[in-house]
Symmetry: C2
Subunit: 366 residues, 2 copies
């Protein structure tokens, strides 16, 4: 089982220092570690080595990889073409080359997450330390299985029930046409096969995200009020995508520094000021990440007997939290993050009877 | 004509300080300024005021808006529904509410760019100061018109020429079916109408990006080697998306500080250390943004008589720059940014005869 660790926070390079130190520490404990970073030059400068799109060993048990979106896009493009060839009798995309594809917003995030998934499944690593942008966009990326599966379940059902969807599956004209162009047996539910494949992938992603032994984030901050406020905002935002935040790393030369009130009930570890090349003091100050992650509050708890859903939403006040029930699910908005809650059968389809926000918890009753 | 300014760089809050000071300076000069920021708490703390999803005036000539993706998504969703109703006889999406939509990676960027476009077109502002993430993802966002129009021109042609595309436009079965479900007259080129609308929008975006009087970025850095390397990387990356970088703001209390060799030929303005509430010294140190932007090297110059294309690619070395000609266009890759070059008719379809990289310029001969 691979454990995926990431660091969130505003600080310029502090986050990357912590990610490197964590990777070095875990490797020194005998874990097989992959440190994964972005294309920006920071990680490469701090490690003093050129990085590549494939993992390379830089120390015993420690490999480093740089997520280069253009390289990842080329590899994924081959998979897209294979998928098309499965469904379409005369593939269209074969004339388009991975090397010419432009990069759209969101591709960086989606491709990074896909790469993490592949390294995770490879079984080659005990820990993957992901040094992403550490801000809301990292959270969008890690929340992708959740948000994408919402689109799949909501829109697939709508389409299947629509006039257009029904006509495609029932019309006597459409079936023969479809078999002229497509390889698939296009019956009642046109999208069953591809959506099942996708759902399967997304369910795995959601299960990993929901398990703090598999995936956890840690906040990195100094005592600067803007950094503290940003860390608190990211803490709450992480809960909204279902990512457990295990603890706080407070960068400060004074080991008595304290930020516990701002981040209670999370443990705060004071780590020394950062200096490239001198990793040991920082490594010594790091906490046991897994132990902290499993003790941290869970982003969501569903209590069927008492008909309650409890969401842990620190870093927001009551005014910033919104609850709506427009579609078939309950939607919680906090800060700029939105979460659609899939309820268990016993509560599914029920109206919200009441909601209160206290002690950082949103408690919804059905 | 609205001018759009943005700041790029690694520094934690330095970029936001500069964005605020620039907005204040331009407003004090009588320009109608909109300062647009993200949902993170930073901007709100530095301005000492709560921000909202609609512009609010915080000083004479100075309005501030916070791009909240969930709010922007709700507004755009209404437009999507209207578009669907234009094309589809029985709209499917009417049952989906903007308030329940999940946010996917890339939506933040695309919606922010769309909001900038709308404020730009409103005619209410002389300058929009966009305080985005200031990293590669801001560049992906600003490069969206270019990258999206590549997908449109490449894939639309492929589809129209494909067996499937031809069958849809020519089959005697398909036309009557289409008119049962769609409102549009579905003849030879099925996608002419929507793609023309989209192309029109994207062409406007590309024209704005290509004009340094309309859009320019400035780099913000300290003398920290990692920040300098990141700023240089973002400089080169900005050229790749076609964004002009006008100059550098070097944050340093020592006015004799120097970074000119690293950023030549850009002018470097030394700005004082930052302190919230004390904006005047910082405002006084800021350069004339438009004057610098129009003098900066252009990202691309196409010289038809000498059959040359010259790309300005600072911050990269020769090994990091790749030129390919797989598809119908020439693709340049540098760092992790890719650019497909649309050639004028005189050079279009010609093979590359030679390429050299010297003095930060990639010179391609046809």
């Amino acid at each position: 089982m691979t454990q995926i660790l990431t660091f969130l926070g505003k600080g310029g390079t502090a986050r990357t220092f912590c990610a490197i130190a964590a990777a070095k520490l875990l490797a020194s404990q005998g874990k097989r570690v992959l440190l994964a970073g972005l294309a920006e030059p920071e990680l490469s400068i701090l490690l003093g080595t050129t990085l590549a799109a494939d993992p390379q060993e830089i120390a015993p048990n420690l490999q480093v990889v740089q997520f280069q979106t253009s390289a990842l896009l080329e590899r994924s493009w081959e998979d897209v073409k294979k998928l098309e060839a499965q469904y379409l009798r005369t593939p269209i995309l074969k004339e388009v080359f991975g090397q010419e594809l432009a990069v759209l917003p969101g591709m960086d995030s989606a491709l990074a997450l896909n790469a993490i998934r592949q390294y995770d499944e490879s079984g080659k690593y005990d820990t993957i330390v992901y040094n992403g942008t550490g801000d809301s966009s990292t959270l969008r990326s890690l929340g992708l299985p959740e948000s994408l599966s919402w689109y799949l379940r909501r829109f697939r059902q709508l389409f299947v029930n629509s006039d257009l969807g029904k006509a495609i599956s029932e019309s006597p004209f459409i079936q023969p046409l479809v078999s002229t162009f497509f390889n698939v047996n296009w019956t009642a539910d046109n999208f069953a096969q591809p959506t099942n494949t996708a759902n399967n992938l997304l369910e795995k992603g959601k299960a990993a995200l929901a398990d703090p032994k598999r995936m956890a984030a840690f906040l990195v901050t100094t005592q600067d009020p803007i950094e503290v406020a940003t860390a608190r905002y990211l803490w709450g935002s992480a809960q909204q995508v279902g990512l457990t935040v295990g603890g706080v790393l407070l960068v400060n030369s004074d080991t008595d520094a304290n930020l516990s009130p701002e981040f209670a009930p999370l443990p705060v570890s004071v780590v020394p000021d950062l200096k490239a090349g001198d990793w040991q003091p920082l490594m010594n100050a790091l906490p046991d990440f897994v132990a902290q992650a499993v003790q941290a509050p869970k982003p969501i708890e569903i209590d069927v007997p008492s008909r309650q859903v409890r969401l842990f939403l620190p870093g927001f006040d009551k005014k910033q939290v919104k609850l709506t029930q427009f579609g078939p699910e309950v939607t919680v908005e906090a800060g700029d993050q939105r979460r659609n809650i899939v309820l268990p059968p016993a509560l599914s389809g029920k109206s919200v009877a009441g909601a209160k926000f206290q002690n950082n918890y949103l408690i919804i009753s059905f």
